[in-house]
């Protein structure tokens, strides 16, 4: 099982957002896609989760093609996308937000077990169950969005900027939590981040995007330790 993206090209109208991108994420690995604003990171994830159409190229998960399928069908097949902007439904309670990914699952017992696991992972959600998601802090919303995805028992997790707009201490905490559940649940993850340092620290592989093209793919460790790469692409 692995995610294989080959020659993927995506257009926003007349603008080419992603240009001939190829990479592979083996099962159980975490790939960090980094790059500045406008590099095409979010567009890449939206296409992999079925929200946006690709212009050409291919993407397969577990040897079956992803492109052209509907977002809800991909979600049900185990590909969960946590979109940016702390994707929770503000008008619904925390409990209802968490319930969304369990609605269509047949195994209700497992939905309950998965929900309990998520509450163990993010205890604060347990205390906020009946509150509206709109009343949560930024960090709590991010936990809720990730928790909702985990209840579906995903195999492939697409995370879009989980650190966006969070205080440094919370960012550290979120990254560490992601690292821990990715290992324990044997998830394959594509993590899109502007916080390159934080993302590479927990990643196996780093993919550097610039203006829609891949400029560098290497192990996260190498990218972190190469001074030239650091100054040219990572800015630290």
């Amino acid at each position: 099982m692995s995610l294989i993206v080959e020659g993927l090209t995506i257009d926003h109208g007349a603008i080419r957002a992603i240009n001939n991108v190829s990479f592979k994420v083996p099962q159980g690995q975490l790939a960090a896609v980094i790059g500045s604003n406008g590099a095409g990171k979010t567009t890449l994830l939206r296409t992999l989760s079925g929200l946006k159409e690709a212009s050409s190229g291919s993407a397969t998960w577990n040897a079956s093609p992803i492109l052209g399928k509907r977002a809800e069908d991909l979600a049900r097949s185990g590909i969960m996308h946590v979109s940016d902007g702390k994707s929770v439904i503000a008008e619904l309670s925390v409990k209802d937000n968490l319930a969304l990914t369990g609605l269509w699952r047949k195994d209700k017992k497992d939905v309950k077990a998965a929900t309990n696991e998520v509450v163990e992972l993010f205890p604060i959600l347990g205390q906020r169950m009946s509150q509206s998601a709109g009343s949560l802090s930024g960090g709590e919303r991010q936990m809720l969005a990730i928790g909702r995805a985990l209840i579906a028992r995903p195999k492939l997790l697409l995370l879009d900027e989980p650190s966006l707009g969070l205080a440094p201490l919370i960012v550290e905490q979120i990254f560490q939590t992601i690292k821990s559940f990715v290992k324990s649940m044997n998830l394959t993850v594509v993590l899109v981040e502007q916080n390159a340092m934080g993302a590479l620290k927990i990643a196996d592989q780093g993919i550097v995007l610039n203006l829609g093209s891949v400029v560098l793919i290497d192990s996260a460790e190498k990218l972190l330790n190469d001074p030239a790469v650091r100054s040219a692409y990572l800015g630290f």
């Binding site: 439904i89 503000a90 008008e91 619904l92 209802d96 969304l100 609605l103 909702r148």
Partner: protein, 298 residues
């Protein structure tokens, strides 16, 4: 005193009918972001179907059930085979906002034309299943009958069922999630297109109920529900367009305002009152009285 009691009771039963139409409009708005002008056509079509059932069976009750069910089916069919293809093809530009609404206007015309072909354009009538004679209070007959009471009971029952559906069931949660954020709903694995069709079906059922309860006091003709559409729309906007409770409250507010102004000031105030209430609400609370709270702005 009897005039006052009559006014209160009549306000309730008129408001209840406006509320039904407002709920039908809100259900479609919430699920597809479309103001469905065809609702008047759908409701009158299902009422004609009910009328035909009464002709054949003589039973208002069978007709009511058939009208509500056919209202749901017609709503679902319109969304699946008419609105969904339009949304698929019209994706960007200012036309996105306009095209579906214009499409529903066109559909209204088409439905009314079809009704004319099938049933003719002369006035028909549906007899109420219970007495329409006013009750007697302290020796005077008031303008509130068993039929008005029946309308109230049915609308209250329908509201209760709808509230339970939305708040207590998985389908209701899917409906709410798809309304608030179709994207997050899709990403959570909810089949948003089907949920939208269900929203249209529910709206169609409410339109059917509104038609069958409204027409016995009036005549049935292809444009019979046009006025009710306008009032339902005003009630929906007063209520904030997003909230089912708001639609119900908006209908009731409109009912009271119209009946009281026409009873105590002048019968000519029917239409002006509706618009004065609308304008007042929009000036004081532009988002409507019961628009949902979003978030703390984080």
């Amino acid at each position: 005193m009897t005039q006052f009691i009559t006014a209160v009771l009549t306000s309730l039963s008129s408001g209840a009918i406006y509320a039904l139409m407002a709920i039908a409009i809100v259900l479609v708005w919430r699920s597809t972001r479309v103001i469905n002008f065809a609702q008047a056509g759908q409701a009158v079509l299902t009422t004609y179907i009910g009328y035909t059932v009464i002709q054949r069976t003589g039973s208002f009750w069978i007709a009511l059930v058939v009208a509500v069910v056919s209202g749901a089916v017609i709503g679902a069919v319109i969304d699946r085979f008419f609105m969904r293809p339009i949304f698929k093809r019209v994706k960007s530009g200012p036309i996105v906002m306009i095209a579906p609404v214009v499409a529903t206007l066109g559909l209204l015309g088409i439905i009314q034309a079809i009704i004319g072909f099938v049933w003719g354009i002369t006035n028909q009538s549906i007899e109420a299943p219970v007495s329409t004679g006013g009750y007697k209070i302290m020796g005077t007959v008031i303008a509130f009958s068993s039929y008005n009471l029946l309308v109230l009971v049915f609308v209250a029952g329908a509201m209760l069922l709808l509230t339970l559906l939305f708040q207590r069931t998985n389908i209701g949660l899917a409906l709410r999630a798809s309304a608030y954020s179709p994207e997050i709903a899709k990403l959570s694995g909810i089949k948003v297109d089907s949920v939208r069709t269900l929203g249209w079906a529910l709206a169609g059922a409410f339109g059917g109920l509104a038609g069958m309860l409204y027409i016995p006091g009036y005549f049935l003709y292809p444009n019979a529900m046009d006025l009710l559409l306008v009032l339902g729309f005003i009630a929906a906007v007063i209520g904030g367009l997003e909230s089912l409770f708001g639609a119900f409250a908006g209908g009731m507010i409109l009912g009271f305002a119209i009946i009281f102004s026409t009873t105590y000031i002048s019968p000519k105030l029917f239409f002006p009152t509706a618009f004065i209430v609308l304008i007042l609400v929009l000036l004081v609370k532009p988002a409507g009285l019961f628009a949902p709270k979003k978030n703390r702005g984080a």
